[in-house]
């Protein structure tokens, strides 16, 4: 048996892990308050406490290790922040007082900005919610739920109908949105906020 001659092309170099050591600082700086993320001792209290850890790509602890290691793409692609239910169990139990839940919010924002999320269900839900709030100044559950389920869980929509019907007949959901009086003021404030945000990012 003849062995096939090796390709003439030089072997491609092993891709080197690019360690982006600015990531930790960036995440910290974009988090409300003082994140204390650099204080993480990898004890796993957060991952142990998390009610939705089973659905996460990485436990929060592991995500923080990735951030510290500068694995920007992997960290921002993780579904972990999107699965976080903001229960704050990790926050109050963390022995180092890391503002874990707020770091999760930061990572969501950074992932949207870098378009690095694999499943758009959660980002879309956030965006739809925010769109409605920006438009009306109030949340609009009916519009939100229908729009969201239509896009992401169309097959589930029929089974949700009894619940939606129940909510509507009990007038616990309104078919029309309500708008605040100062919507223009709010829009001005948010526009300015976005400008400020853009400058300081």
């Amino acid at each position: 048996m003849e062995i096939a001659p090796e390709s003439q092309a030089p072997p491609s170099p092993i891709p080197k892990l690019i360690e982006d050591l600015t990531l930790l600082d960036e995440v910290s700086n974009r988090t409300a308050g003082v994140s204390r993320l650099e204080m993480c001792i990898q004890c796993g209290t957060c991952g142990g406490s998390c009610p939705s850890a089973a659905d996460m790509d990485h436990t929060p602890r592991m995500l923080f290790a990735m951030i510290r290691a500068g694995m920007r793409k992997d960290a921002l692609m993780s579904n972990t922040p999107w699965i976080c239910v903001s229960c704050y169990h990790c926050v109050v139990r963390c022995p180092q007082n890391v503002h874990i839940a707020d770091v999760m919010y930061t990572l969501k924002g950074m992932a949207i900005e870098a378009k690095l999320y694999r499943d758009s269900t959660a980002p879309d839900f956030s965006q739809t919610f925010v769109d409605m709030v920006e438009e009306y100044g109030r949340s609009f559950e009916f519009g939100l739920a229908t729009r969201h389920y239509l896009k992401h869980f169309p097959l589930r929509l029929p089974s949700m109908a009894p619940m939606g019907f129940g909510m509507l007949t009990r007038q616990r959901m309104s078919m029309t949105p309500r708008r605040i009086k100062g919507i223009d003021q709010l829009k001005t404030i948010l526009k300015k906020a976005k400008e400020v945000e853009a400058v300081h990012e």
């Binding site: 001792i41 004890c43 209290t45 991952g47 142990g48 436990t59 602890r61 022995p95």
Partner: protein, 676 residues
């Protein structure tokens, strides 16, 4: 220069200024040569006759420089610009003394901690150093030669706390032939060690190695054992303390009591023993905490005694064969004179109920480490069987949680040091006695010190399952069938990167150590200070670990910080060695740097009384003035600064000296031009 009156020489003193490089520590940021030259030229009229810089002033060659100048140039004052006086004040004072200059005519100013280490701008740092030197020169001009105070040392010693550290200290001193008063709050000496079953890593029976020491201490001719007693007040100073002690009424006549135990047997009332049995067992109202107690005399718990509550019963009295029960016995208060004091007051355990997510106090089969010690102790409430709280079921799976209350900013931020080894010891005991599956949950495994890591290896070999992860919660709410009827430990297995829920029957919380609840009070009583965490602060964390800032008061064992038995014993012995060293001197010299009160100016406001960290200020009720005990005063200056009437001044830090130093410091801002 503000004091410039046109004379070429304003003062008569001859001052030498010595600027240290401290390698690059100072010279890296400060132009030391320039500082020395500047002092020699610009401060000539203030009496500076020589300015030198040298690589290491504290070296013997550096010191010789100063000594030679004193002799050859006839220096009458010395200013050394180097590190903090904490480090080398004594070095340079001694150098002056060797050259025949009164050591208190030497002033050490810091240009390392206060200049080079906190600045980066070399020009500014050099200017600031000049100012600091100038301040030192102005101040040293107003120094006076001082002579140290000599006081005799009383040869007796007070040891507070009868745990293993205190016992060790007492025995060492007593064996050397000196009297020791060993004061213990509980009815017996022995401390926490008496509650333990086995000790790590050798698995010696704790009682077997402790009780001979207890007996020795109890029977030693040089040890006066004062159990069920507390120190009320400490007066005096090193070498001459007068300590007031309250010996609480046991309601037992110790002269008559033979320790036969009949009273305890006949007493009809049982109460939960919160102290010795850690709340896991019962004791009688008349009781000795444990069979090997030293002394053997029982004590009566008046609060729970039927006779004291209702006026009837007296069963103990009826049955006592020697008439030793004395319901009318009162507390005795007396004082003893001692030269030195060793504080070995130990620790409290972290209150596990505070970590609500671990369910202690709510979930019956969650135990603390001390409870487990009692459970596994042959003399404990279950005679050593490791069982659940129902008192009979042997657990099939046991989880041991490390770092409970320690290394956690929500509770205690420090490592309690013993919990890892304690958790491993428990794993071994559970495995050996029950054959149960054992899980240890840890963050970091800390098994430093001799033969400790080998013990970890042994426990690994025995098949204990280790999970690296701080436990998130212990719950009795099952999610699946297999969890029903169990406690579930939920945590992240950080090495597997997955959340796990592990069903067990028993959870043991390896709780941390914390300072005694009354540690601050005790510290105040003995003139010590506590760290932010509440432990007593040693004089130097590395080089003087058992002495304190108060002369004659030493600390040993866990009162200083969490530690295991070997370290506690070592500290107990070390404190004894320090005490013996003092006793051998027979008398000692005290620093003459101290404050005094001008009684004519004192308004009697007593502000200084409470501020003094060394309890050195006495208030005369009759004359309504305060007075400072010179032997007790450590010269810290707190009272000087606090006195609203300006009635207090300190030798070596009088108002005049401080004002002069400030003026010297301001020289660069207010005085003549400085060109660099």
């Amino acid at each position: 220069m503000t004091q410039d009156n046109g004379n070429s020489q304003d003062v008569q003193e001859r001052i030498g200024v010595y600027v240290c490089h401290c390698g690059t520590n100072i010279a890296g940021t400060v132009d030391v040569q320039q500082v020395a030259e500047w002092a020699a030229t610009r401060l000539k009229r203030r009496g500076v006759v020589i300015g030198r810089d040298y690589k290491f002033m504290c070296s013997s060659l550096g010191q010789e420089l100063i000594e030679n100048d004193i002799k050859e140039l006839g220096l009458t004052r010395v200013v050394v610009a180097a590190c903090s006086p904490h480090l080398h004040e004594a070095t340079f004072r001694n150098a002056c003394q060797r050259a025949g200059l009164n050591p208190y005519l030497c002033e050490l100013v810091s240009i390392r901690e206060q200049v080079s280490w906190v600045h980066t701008d070399k020009v500014a740092a050099t200017v600031k150093s000049q100012a600091v030197v100038s301040g030192g020169v102005e101040r040293v001009l107003r120094h006076e030669p001082l002579e140290p105070l000599r006081v005799p040392i009383h040869p007796a010693t007070l040891v507070v706390g009868g745990g293993i550290a205190g016992i060790q200290s007492a025995l060492e001193i007593a064996d050397a032939g000196y009297r020791v008063y060993l004061v213990e709050r509980e009815p017996s000496i022995g401390g926490h060690m008496a509650q333990f079953d086995k000790t790590f890593p050798t698995l010696d029976c704790s009682a077997c190695i402790l009780t001979p020491r207890m007996v020795q201490a109890g029977a030693h001719p040089n040890i006066t054992l004062l159990t069920y007693s507390e120190v009320e007040k400490v007066d005096g100073y090193v070498g001459n303390f007068v300590v007031t002690i309250r010996k609480k009424a046991r309601k037992i006549n110790e002269e008559l009591c033979t320790g036969c135990g009949i009273c305890q047997e006949k007493c009809p009332v049982k109460v939960i023993d919160d102290v010795y049995e850690a709340g896991l067992g019962y004791r009688k109202v008349v009781y000795t905490p444990f069979p090997q107690a030293v002394p053997k005399f029982p004590v009566m718990d008046v609060e729970n005694c039927t006779y004291f509550k209702k006026g009837t019963c007296k069963a103990c009295e009826k049955f006592c064969p020697t008439n030793a029960i004395d319901f009318n016995q009162q507390d005795e208060v007396f004082s003893v004179e001692v030269g030195n004091i060793v504080l070995a007051t130990g620790y409290d355990l972290f209150d596990a109920r505070r970590v609500t997510n671990y369910g202690y106090g709510r979930l019956p089969n969650v135990f603390t480490s001390l409870e487990f010690e009692r459970l596994s102790n042959a003399a404990g409430p279950t005679n050593g069987s490791i069982v659940l709280r129902d008192g009979k079921t042997v657990p099939k799976a046991v989880g041991i949680i490390h770092c409970v209350g320690s290394r956690d900013r929500n509770f205690n931020n420090y490592c309690s040091t013993i919990c890892c080894m304690q958790g491993l010891k428990f794993a071994h005991l559970v495995h050996e006695r029950t054959g149960a599956t054992v899980y240890n949950f840890y963050i970091d495994m800390r098994t430093a010190y001799k033969a400790y890591d080998e013990f970890y290896q042994r426990v690994l070999e025995e098949g204990t399952l280790f999970v690296r992860g701080k436990v998130a919660e212990v719950t009795d709410v099952p999610r699946i069938k297999d969890e029903e009827g169990h406690l579930i430990i939920q945590c992240e297995d950080t090495l597997a990167g997955k959340q796990r829920r592990i069903p067990v029957d028993m959870v043991i919380l390896s709780i941390g150590l914390q300072p005694r609840a009354d540690a601050k009070e005790t510290a105040k009583k003995f003139g010590l200070s506590c760290s932010a965490d509440g432990w007593f602060i040693e004089k130097h964390p590395k080089l003087d670990p058992v002495a304190t800032m108060t002369e004659g008061v030493y600390i040993a064992g866990c009162a200083q910080g969490p530690k295991d038995i070997p370290s506690s014993v070592a500290q107990g012995a070390a404190a004894a060695a320090r005490v013996l060293g003092k006793i051998q001197q027979r008398e000692m010299a005290l620093e003459p740097v101290r404050a005094s009160i001008n009684q004519d100016q004192c308004s009697g406001c007593r502000i200084c009384n409470n501020l003094c960290p060394f309890n050195a200020i006495l208030f005369h009720d009759d004359r309504m003035v305060s007075e400072i005990n010179p032997a007790l005063c450590q010269g810290c200056g707190t009272c000087v600064a606090a006195c609203p009437a300006g009635a207090i001044s300190g030798t070596a830090f009088s108002n005049e000296q401080i004002m002069a130093q400030i003026e010297g410091l301001m020289l660069l801002n207010v005085g003549e031009e400085i060109t660099l």
